[in-house]
């Protein structure tokens, strides 16, 4: 905790000299710009957006306030309600899908397979690619005239239909599948790290007791990595709430409004439709959604750390 406790030889009782003061202040001087910038970014910018969300800003930001009307308008807007509903549906399917596939892949790779790093590299590479690239390419694959439907028909199944992105009812599932494709490798990496940390003796003990592979995993291994499940869940939910680029590149939010997400709504309101206050209100809702996920998670983390500290 002490930063300046070392007695400097030659320093008289006249107090520290200027070079010494400079030396003492160095850490603060170095830290200050970053901290100030970050605090402005986190607190001032957020406060600013809150203010805008309560103002009369339309085409341009203005300082005159109008209270919670932008929030009322927001929730009265059918487009926003579609976006919000989409977010719920997408989050659920995407998180469950990515976790199930990620866990499956992790368990498969954990069976002492050959060329483990090759498999891992294959399953994780989508994460290094931007959502724009992923969305563009998958958009082509979904397109009935060029992609998967055409492939299957050319093989001989001439009335095969696979055109998720062309229908309002199914376009959201195209985004779900692509999102899962992009993120399940990430879930795999986290699960695999967890599986590798499980004490091999526990597994051996279970096997000696006659448990088969399925029982070993479901009863012994997976319960011990429960915290990893929660971490993966929280991270994937964050990804889902921030979904934006993928939708823009894959469906452009359509057909119609079928794949509009909250983040797209913010963009539209702020930069296309000149409804800045309502856009800011929508941005606040995204923050609120993140808080709903992250606040309980942090409390749980702190609680767990305390409990561990006590039990040691």
């Amino acid at each position: 905790m002490t930063t300046q406790s070392i007695a400097v030889p030659g320093a008289g009782h006249a107090g520290p000299t200027w070079p010494q003061r400079l030396a003492q202040a160095t850490p603060f001087l170095v830290l200050a710009p970053s901290v100030i910038a970050t605090l402005i970014y986190v607190f001032v910018f957020t406060g600013w957006t809150i203010y805008i969300s309560l103002s009369k800003s339309a085409m341009f930001p203005v300082s005159a306030l109008q209270g919670i009307k932008p929030y009322q308008d927001l929730w009265a807007n059918a487009r926003w309600n579609i976006a919000f509903h989409n977010l719920f549906l997408y989050s659920f399917l995407y998180v469950v899908g990515a976790m199930v596939i990620g866990l499956t892949l992790a368990i498969l790779i954990d069976q002492r397979v050959r060329a483990e790093s090759v498999w891992r590299t294959i399953f994780l590479y989508p994460l290094a690619v931007s959502f724009v690239v992923t969305g563009t390419v998958w958009g082509w694959l979904y397109s009935p005239d060029t992609g998967i439907q055409m492939l299957v028909r050319s093989i001989g199944w001439s009335n095969f239909t696979f055109a998720l992105t062309t229908s309002k009812d199914t376009a959201i599932y195209a985004i779900v599948i692509t999102g899962i494709w992009q993120s399940s490798g990430f879930a795999m990496a986290l699960f695999l790290a967890g599986l590798r940390a499980v004490d091999p003796d526990i597994i051996k003990a279970a096997q000696i007791d006659g448990a088969g592979p399925f029982r070993t995993y479901s009863r012994v291994v997976l319960p011990t990595i429960a915290p990893i499940f929660i971490a993966v869940l929280v991270v994937l939910l964050q990804f889902a709430i921030k979904t934006f680029d993928l939708v823009v590149a894959l469906t452009g939010g359509g057909p119609g409004l079928a794949t509009t997400f909250p983040a797209n709504y913010v963009y539209d309101m702020m930069f296309q439709r000149g409804q800045i206050a309502q856009g800011a209100a929508a941005a606040m809702m995204i923050l609120a959604a993140l808080a709903v996920v992250l606040v309980p998670y942090s409390i749980w983390l702190v609680w767990r750390r305390r409990r561990e500290a006590r039990s040691v």
């Binding site: 930063t3 070392i6 910018f45 596939i101 892949l105 590479y125 724009v132 992609g147 494709w181 921030k242």
Partner: protein, 293 residues
């Protein structure tokens, strides 16, 4: 005899389970690789062939011309000079932003772990909040600020945004790494009279490569792939490549030149993919650290 039969059945079970494991891994791998293979192949095929056989088909033609067009002559959002300008914009944006945010993160992490002061932990907690703030929340303030300092529609504006945004991540990564380095090392150096910078350069930097590589990879891929700020704060020839790729997709509604688009998409995907294939181990480490801590 009974023993042999048992061994044989155990062996059969083992073989079956191996077949299932590798079979599943191969099926999943094909699904994961398919999109990449499709884009690569289509970047060399001619358009009549693509339109006739579809995108997922074995190439009958081969030409490097579409790569050249994508790079140099293809029309994106009104100008016909390919995506090379946007590619260089992305480089000009990503490299400085990565270096600056990583360097500052390393120094912040060093201070917040080895030069703690009253309130430094609270300060660190505040800085960490920056990791979670969604980009949408800062759009209006940034747009005002960039206008005030004359960095609207400029790659330098994006560098500023990515530096500030990245600081939270880089500080978090580095601080969590340095915290596990014994304090005694630093204390001993201080008693020997080494100052802030001397300890940083002689003790901290030499042990930092693992975390610096993780941070650089994380920042590089993240900033290169970022889209929201690029599309909002820049237009036309100032846009980074992610924004240009979307403009390219939206522009080609009549006759879509899938081959040139494929090449353009690959040009946009190549740098982060390269970083991933070269530093895969560190990439994964960055992900798991970013997620679990």
């Amino acid at each position: 005899m009974a023993f042999d039969a048992e061994a044989a059945s155990a062996r059969r079970r083992w073989v079956t389970s191996r077949v299932i494991i590798y079979g599943l891994l191969i099926v999943f791998s094909l699904i994961y690789i398919l999109p990449l293979v499709v884009v690569i192949l289509n970047s060399f095929r001619d358009l009549p062939e693509i339109n006739h056989n579809g995108l997922i088909a074995w190439p009958q033609s081969f030409s490097l011309d579409y790569w050249y067009q994508a790079w140099d002559t293809y029309c994106v959002g009104g100008t016909c000079a390919g995506v090379k300008g946007n590619f260089f914009n992305s480089l000009t944006m990503t490299i400085p932003a990565t270096i600056i945010s990583t360097a500052l993160g390393a120094m912040n992490g060093y201070i917040l772990s080895k030069w703690k002061f009253r309130g430094s932990d609270a300060l660190f907690a505040c800085v960490m909040l920056g990791v979670f703030v969604p980009g949408q929340l800062s759009l209006m303030p940034w747009s005002w600020l960039l206008g005030r300092i004359h960095l609207s529609n400029s790659v330098y504006g994006l560098i500023l945004i990515h530096c500030v945004q990245g600081l939270s991540f880089t500080t978090l990564f580095c601080r969590n790494f340095y915290v596990n380095i014994p304090d005694d090392l630093v204390k001993a150096a201080r008693i020997d009279g080494a100052g802030f910078w001397r300890i940083f350069w002689k003790i901290i930097v030499p042990i930092s490569p693992p975390i610096l590589i993780v941070t650089v990879i994380w920042q590089f891929t993240g900033i290169w792939n970022e889209f929201l700020f690029g599309v909002i704060f820049t237009t036309g020839n100032q846009q980074p490549i992610t924004a240009a790729l979307v403009a390219l997709g939206a522009g080609g509604l009549s006759v879509h030149a899938y081959n040139v688009s494929s090449a353009a998409v690959l040009i946009g995907a190549l740098p982060p993919l390269l970083v991933y294939f070269l530093g895969g181990k560190y990439f994964v480490r960055g992900l798991t650290q970013g997620a679990i801590k």
